[in-house]
Symmetry: C2
Subunit: 344 residues, 2 copies
Amino acid sequence: MNLKQLSELLGLSQTTVSRALNGYPEVNEATRERVLQAVKETGYRPNKAAQRLATGKAGSIGLVMPTAPGHQSDVHFGEFLAGLGEEAVRHDFHFVIMPADPDDEVAALRRLAISGNVDALFVAYMRGHDPRLPMLKSLSMPYVVHGRSFGAEPDYPYLDIDNEGAFYDATRLLLQLGHTRFALMNGPTHLDFAIRRRNGVISALAERGLTLEEDCVSHALMTDEQGLLAMERFLQLPQRPTAILCSSTVMALGAIRAVNQAGLRLGEDISLIAHDDVLPLLKPESFSVPLTTTRSSLRAAGARIAQRLIGTVKQAGPFPEQELWKTELIVRASTGPAPQSHEA
Amino acid sequence: MNLKQLSELLGLSQTTVSRALNGYPEVNEATRERVLQAVKETGYRPNKAAQRLATGKAGSIGLVMPTAPGHQSDVHFGEFLAGLGEEAVRHDFHFVIMPADPDDEVAALRRLAISGNVDALFVAYMRGHDPRLPMLKSLSMPYVVHGRSFGAEPDYPYLDIDNEGAFYDATRLLLQLGHTRFALMNGPTHLDFAIRRRNGVISALAERGLTLEEDCVSHALMTDEQGLLAMERFLQLPQRPTAILCSSTVMALGAIRAVNQAGLRLGEDISLIAHDDVLPLLKPESFSVPLTTTRSSLRAAGARIAQRLIGTVKQAGPFPEQELWKTELIVRASTGPAPQSHEA
DNA sequence: AATGGCATCCAAAGCGCTTTCAAATATGTA
DNA sequence: TACATATTTGAAAGCGCTTTGGATGCCATT
């Protein structure tokens, strides 16, 4: 069933039917009713490709999913997508996901943009000096970046959380509790949030004249396993750190196992603060020692970005170009005063 | 830059350029070279919407993502998507994801299909007597189902793992180890895999004249938290089970915490076998007590489904309509002989 | 020189929709 | 009644591509 058939069935022109469906005012209410009724009966749906071709709008937002054989998928990706989806479903938008090799992201993004399949782009996993930024700017298609690109002029539309502030605050809390030996379990080096979190820690420490030793920093994929490995390494250090900052609750999972295996008590021998993206599968409050966290909902960020993107496409009023969300610092049982005992 | 401009630039007709690009034989090799060169220089990309309209093929596979405010996102979804993506990227296919309220899935799927935006559909989270199946059959669009629908005639294209066999085998192993009191931590009741896994357990038990008590079964979302709760319940039972079957390693995580908190030892007081979807973030072999699992890679399943779907769209040879993958039973330290001591 | 075959190329139609411009009808005003 | 003005509808062009059904020119054959 297409427009032509539908209009013939109704004895109307395609024009009128199209107008009736798209809410134009110049069509008689009675006719509109008739059309709507017929749509219901026949189950007619406009062909999106044709609409896209005719209007230039497709009701879809595009994103590139980094993937390759052997490339680790990321819990955070799914959670973020859920947020985007939650908002998109309200506006009858959908996503076009282009899977791409992580090395090919710039090109993939460009292909997606000029394919004519999407109205707007969403970009994540930002890096320092991210090469996608100049490309996006040259594209004349709306986009919003999740995160920021360290080192680049912040003149692009983004939504980010205050990673530096979060880890600064967390570090300060641990300092106030008397800790002096810190370690950081971070995400992959090149990612923007990792850079900022690290800076947050460093600057809080600097205020007390402390530094973050190289061997007290780990950069790795944010998995359970890597958390275990990193923590094991920290615990074997001659000057074992007592305060750990961790970029993900998933990673914290493994880290805590390492603590337990070493016979140490979380919140007493070792204090740990992790960043919590509010993943439904992992609630820091129900850890056996509830986790102190810096919190910010990834899903909410996804929903907000979708809102901005869709709003822009629909020309629904101006949106702030840059948003920086504060995180919450939630104190639970995994942090406590620095142990006094076997000091060096 | 569109076809018309490109062809004018080359002094050729749109026809010829189009043919050159799509590998038709009736174009002079020299001309083809010239066209390809021009494409490289201008960065021309065909408009996908127009291609779609003209050919009826869009190079995309559609799927519905269940989502709603408050709806829990699912790690497994992301992992599966990664598998689909891994294969799709090879063929320059992309996904169109339509987010939809879980209550609206049938309608959403239909909308997606007749939107003319996709060439094939992928469907997951199958339930018993799934209402989407009759709809899909009436659609004349290729599709592949991940999982099966219990109770429905198995005459639709699917890829499933042998859930019943997996849990049957796992249960048998525990029986052989002398266990007699079993519990099952399963996914949501209505889902097909949950039904089959349960059946697997029941039939293995039946062979020894045992039954699975109602209070030894939990159906819940497969999260860490639910795992904890379910296990706590099991441990308070007067006849505490010693053998636990668990539908997910994520859930096992919480379950194990409950075991530890109760002061019990995994692999000695309590034996546990979990199903492992091979999530990169959670490796059963690196649990503090390595987990015995039934294993089948979700990601591999995604890739295979993408392969079948894309192959069908491209008319590349016949694919098996139904595939049932065996799972592996991998014995690690979380299973051991049934404790002899305080028997009832 | 006339014919047929082959290799290349092109004009134009068509995919299903939106939208411009114009026509037809209905309504109001003098 | 005659005219201007809304209101409602339609014909047709166009979005950017593919593809059908010729053209055109060139060569080998008769």
